[in-house]
Amino acid sequence: MKELLLILAASALVNNVVLSQFLGLCPFLGVSRRIETAAGMGGAVIFVITLASAITSLIYNYVLIVLNLAYLQTIVFILVIAALVQLVELFLKKHSHSLYKSLGIYLPLITTNCAVLGVALINVQREYGFIKSVVNGFGTSLGFTVAIVIMAGIRERIETNEISESFQGYPIVLITAGLMAIAFFGFSGML
């Protein structure tokens, strides 16, 4: 139990997926204008990454390892993730319309989110079993959500500030991300 909690804290805060591993930067910079959309994206990411790490972990440990095909991991994982996102979209559309509406537009965007494949590969690299993989996936996506929601909050605030002309737009967002990365550095003393 203690080990699982450590994995959760490490993946969510210490090795934050966006701010220290640079995975999933495109949605982090692209969908962080408003807090609501950022939270929606975060919710969709938590859902997909947790599910994807569960399924890729099962496939890796019980299919690829057994058949001695571990070297095919990249190809298999990316196809599984692409198919999974499609399936989730279809399933939600049919059975949970309210959830589909709130996650709707973000779901297809997630296929291109390198954090999903990244987490699956990290799970394999660290030789996590099923439970640890799921916890690591959940922690990582939780870290993504925390980072993107904070970012959206800051961006809503600085929108009205006076920013020198050459720093308007992307540069100020990147500076903000850099300062957040420094703040998250503080967590590395925690473990």
């Binding site: 640079f22 995975l23 291109t112 390198c114 050459s166 540069p171």
Partner: protein, 222 residues
Amino acid sequence: MNRYTERIYNGVIKENPTLVLMLGICPTLAVTTSAFNGFGMGISTLVVLVMSSLFISLLRNVISDRIRIPGYIVIVASLVTVVQMLLQAYIPVLYEALGIYIPLIVVNCIILGRAESYASKNTIILSILDGTGMGLGFTAALTIIGMVREIIGAGTIFGFPLNQISPFSFEYEPVSIFVLAPGAFFVLAGLTAVQNKLMLPSATNGKARKTKGRAKKGENEE
């Protein structure tokens, strides 16, 4: 300039994938902790890009339109696996340094972007040259960003200490935050700010599209 050299020029300068189109930001920030790592990542991506352009252009009349994206992904993922194995076997130093970012070349949007927008519509030679140009542009950008971060953050260049290779000796205290995660954001922020200041074309200030529109307009007027 004929249309073959134009492809290389387009990839390296006019539509540089990192500096102008702002694609593939994740590897750009993650692996540029030193000039050597940036260069290695650039070359790995270049190889995948050239080979995927070749195969996708070769198979462009075979792959049915409806399943083309999964088809491209399988081709790219296979090539990435090959590159990963080659690196593991022959350049283990780079393999260790780049780690998880090698398999993540699969999701680099430059590769699928070129496959979809260029290789699937053009002849083999042109597609290979397009991939080469884009790959060289990516390599150049990553090496430069890596060099900036390494010089400021570690006081070395390609692993050689600056004060040893320069003709005059001096003391330099490295600003180590520049080789850590936050430094990546600051360097890219500085870079895009300079592009804004000098009004250079870039996807971040919307000028990449504008100049294209202007160029088209100019052609029509001529």
